[in-house]
């Protein structure tokens, strides 16, 4: 009997042990180091002494990018040597970069921050596309007291207006230093070939979803003549942008960032603080969308097995004219519209022109970028938070540091022409000398120090920016940091449903009618508790704005 009992016990532990093992990969590193994290995070004053000590401290900055290698690494190290010389002189610190590769970047980002073992000090983050708020809540970021900021990052403290600091607070504490002085537009749309659109009969370019249909029809019909591999080699990840884009184009809906990937909750331009979920209310519009996407699918805009397509090279294909469209944001368009070395279409085809149809164009519905689309945080695991702030203050505000860090060494990676624009020097190789594409400093760019890139097509860009400026409204929910912990699993489920159905709808890959799939989608959302989330968000929003 005893033996039996023992055997049974052993089995329990074996089976249970297997789970612990299975989950171990993920939970152990986090769990194991949680203790060490709490000790450093608790007292913000700890490490004060290091700021004044004589020892040179190395500050590690976390950015999302693949680690450079070969000659590219060489250039990068040369730049860092010069930068570190300045940092050493001004802050008695060195800077090192922790490159977080793009593969599964969000999971790895959260995992790295969760470990809080002092691997990184400065953390590039964002409230919309990198989980800034969840990490702040989970304790991965250090609270930045006003005193700390005033003392160690004085220029940053002064340059950011009080109302912008307000948007960096959670529970009354500042966690982020926002990139609030940098004009950029990351509203999404379709990048297309304007010259082909003209051939398709759209003399003025694409200005509506219907125009897009005309354009895609033309490209699909003339695929071989135009030398296209695909009209658009989508990898099925744009379902959310497209679906959201459709709604923006056909209503006054504006969304709250950072609740879920689908940006499914928000208000309207006129009444931003009455929340709703357009996927539940705008049924007729969604049906129309589903029908149009089915039409695109039948037209052969993307590959038949788009949902299994996996990674692709659509943007690079666009640069050489193998595809006719790219779905991304304005910032990407500013690159593709310009005759840079990489954009071969302008060399091979003198008529080539690239246009941009932005979502919301029809309804004049454009929201300016949230200032925390890029921000810098200090890791709670950092052993030298003060030094980290000093280094950040320098790379953000010191012209020499800024240029080195963003553009590289003058004369090697960049230079200035007579008009004061930034050019590439003789012998420049974009594959190895582009420091901007290595450091990926998107968390504190500064228009006061920026030098306009001469290669960019500023005529087209300024024209579009002026158009945006005429219709834009500021982001309406900057002070709102929703606390959705209690609803986490509901939102997880809603995300999953959203992805499943929007993928089918946005790529027209559904059997049955558009009405059916939309109804099914809404029923699933309803069952998962979408209304519960809307109500809770409304309650929390009212606390902030009413």
């Amino acid at each position: 009997m005893k033996k039996k009992l023992l055997a049974a016990l052993l089995t329990v532990t074996m089976v249970a042990g297997m789970t612990a093992c299975g989950g171990g990969n993920a939970e152990n590193p986090a769990g194991g180091s949680a203790d060490s994290g709490s000790s450093t995070a608790g007292g913000t004053a700890e490490g004060n002494s290091s700021a004044s000590s004589d020892e040179i401290v190395t500050i590690t900055y976390l950015t999302t990018n693949d680690k450079p290698d070969g000659e590219k690494e060489q250039r990068y190290l040369e730049m860092m040597e010069q930068l570190n010389a300045i940092l050493e002189e001004k802050a008695n610190a060195h800077l090192d970069i922790y490159f977080l590769s793009w593969t599964d970047y969000l999971s790895n980002y959260n995992l790295l921050l969760a470990s809080m073992d002092g691997t990184v000090d400065l953390v590039g983050t964002a409230t919309d596309w990198l989980d800034a708020w969840p990490n702040a809540k989970n304790g991965a970021f250090l609270e930045l007291s006003e005193d700390m900021l005033k003392t160690y990052a004085p220029k940053t403290w002064e340059s950011v207006p009080a109302e912008d600091w307000e948007m960096c607070k959670y529970n009354g504490e500042i966690y982020l230093m926002p990139e609030d002085n940098y004009a950029q537009w990351t509203n999404h749309g379709f990048i297309y070939r304007l010259d082909w659109a003209k051939d398709a009969g759209l003399a003025d370019g694409v200005h509506s979803w219907e125009d897009l249909t005309t354009y895609f029809q033309y490209c699909s019909d003339h695929k071989d003549e135009l030398g296209l591999q695909y009209v658009w080699d989508s990898d099925a990840t744009q379902y959310g942008q497209m679906g959201g884009g459709w709604i923006t184009s056909h209503s006054d809906y504006i969304s709250i960032d950072g609740i879920n990937s689908g940006a499914m909750w928000g208000g309207t331009k006129d009444d931003p603080y009455t929340l709703y979920c357009p996927y539940m209310t705008d049924t007729a519009s969604l049906v129309e969308y589903a029908n149009m996407m089915k039409q695109w699918n039948d037209m052969g805009v993307w590959s038949s097995d788009v949902l299994n397509r996996g990674t692709n090279t659509n943007r690079d294909d666009f640069r050489v004219g193998l595809v006719a469209a790219e779905q991304h944001h304005t910032q990407t368009w500013t690159d593709l519209v310009s005759h840079t070395e990489a954009n071969k279409i302008y060399d091979t085809d003198p008529d080539a022109e690239v246009g941009f149809f932005y979502f919301g164009e029809e309804s004049k519905n454009v929201v300016a970028l949230n200032i925390t689309h890029g921000a810098m945080a200090v890791s709670a695991g950092s052993k030298n938070p003060e030094k980290a702030l000093m280094v950040y203050d320098l790379i953000r505000n010191d012209p020499d540091c800024y240029k080195l860090f963003n553009y590289g060494i003058q004369g090697v990676s960049w230079d200035v022409n007579e008009e004061g624009l930034r050019i590439t020097p003789e012998g420049y190789n974009s594959d190895t000398d582009n420091i901007n594409g290595v450091t990926n400093y998107w968390w504190g760019r500064n228009d006061d120090l920026e030098i306009k890139d001469a290669r960019l097509n500023w005529d087209a860009i300024d024209k579009l920016y002026a158009e945006y400026d005429a219709i834009k409204i500021p982001y309406q929910y900057g002070k709102f940091v929703p606390n959705v912990d209690e609803l986490r699993s509901t939102i997880d489920q809603i995300n999953e449903i959203y992805e499943n159905y929007m993928k089918q709808i946005s790529y027209g890959q559904f059997s049955g009618s558009a009405e059916d799939i939309v109804a099914e989608f809404q029923a699933a959302l309803s069952a998962a508790g979408v209304d519960k989330v809307t109500e809770e968000l409304q309650r929390q929003l009212d606390e902030v704005y009413k």
Binding site: T13, G17, G31, A34, G37, A140, D305, E496
Partner: protein, 320 residues
């Protein structure tokens, strides 16, 4: 054992129970040999056990597993309220049943075939060829399958097109995947699984087989009456082990081959893939652990039940 006891009774006058230390000393060589396994299980199975607690808290990095707020069974609600628990568990179990039953049957079959091969050269070559797929990463398997089956440029459709036949669209048809996934699994695993059975066949006393041959048994009779019955304990034990993991899906296979194509989820979504999709973006440790615990408990129950049944039928074959 019985003999030893008898010996002990007769040979020793002084009846005294051995202390633990004496026991350890007496079996020191055996224990030493078990050490690596003991250390392995202590380090990777027993030591992390307290971590199961994470399934019952709202985990937050700063407070750690034991400092985070206790929320009872809230994490388990996730699966229950998704409305998918039944479908997911069903898919997972049915696929695993197919994998376990067909996999083992085919492995036994292949092992017997290998055993019957007379040409040494042919035996080695075919064993190697069957073994190789086991070493191909699931990611590559996914790529291979996609390149064979995709609609526009796939190998299969290339041939169908050339023959003037209607093109095949497996990536829009959930029903074909129940068969395809099992086939892919068998292709990958059979070579490896058959090795165990092949070894068991090798271990059968050759005298028995020779005796049967002398008695005039033909090849099929030899298999039916000698080899298969001798393999029975091996088969039962391997099945019992496999059943413990019946609610644990083969994430690598499903995720890489099916990908994130919602058209196919109806028949291909298993617990792992669903949980992955739901929790990967917000790094929800607690929910994921809760699901892992659910699977373990389910697996434990299955092992206990099946073991009891096996014991009822034939106590010699049961695990404990």
């Amino acid at each position: 054992m019985a003999r030893k006891k008898q010996k002990a009774n007769t040979a020793t006058v002084q009846v005294r129970k051995l202390t633990l230390r004496e026991k350890i000393w007496r079996h020191r060589v055996l224990i030493l040999m078990c050490m690596p396994a003991i250390v392995f299980f202590l380090a990777f199975s027993y030591a992390p056990l307290p971590g199961i607690w994470v399934a019952f808290v709202r985990y937050n990095y700063r407070d750690g597993i034991f400092g985070s707020k206790f929320i009872g069974l809230d994490n388990f609600e996730f699966l229950a309220t998704s409305g998918k628990l039944f479908q997911l568990t069903r898919n997972t179990i049915l696929y695993n049943l197919a994998f376990i039953l067909l996999g083992n049957a085919l492995a036994v079959f292949v092992a017997i075939l290998l055993n019957e091969m007379r040409s040494r050269w042919f035996k080695k070559v075919s064993q190697t060829i069957m073994f190789l797929p086991y070493f191909i990463s699931q990611v590559l398997v996914g790529v291979l399958v996609f390149n064979l089956l995709n609609y526009d440029t796939g190998f299969v459709n290339g041939i169908l097109g050339k023959l003037g036949l209607e093109l095949w669209k497996p990536y829009s048809d959930p029903n074909v995947w129940t068969v395809l996934l099992v086939l892919i699994y068998l292709w990958q695993q059979t070579g490896y699984n058959s090795v165990v059975y092949f070894a068991a066949i090798m271990g059968i006393d050759s005298e028995t087989i020779e005796a049967a041959r002398v008695d005039g048994a033909n090849g099929f009779q030899k298999i039916r009456y000698i080899i298969l019955p001798s393999l029975k304990p091996t088969i039962v034990i391997l099945l019992l082990f496999a059943l413990g993991g019946i609610v644990k899906g083969n994430f690598g296979l499903f995720y890489n081959v099916v990908g994130s194509n919602p058209l196919l989820y109806g028949t291909t979504d298993i617990i792992e893939t669903y949980v992955y999709r739901c929790t990967v973006t917000d790094f929800n440790f607690s929910t994921a652990s809760a699901v892992g615990l659910y699977q373990s408990i389910f697996g434990f129950v299955v092992v206990m039940v099946v073991n009891t049944i096996v014991k009822k039928i034939d106590p010699d074959y049961s695990l404990f």
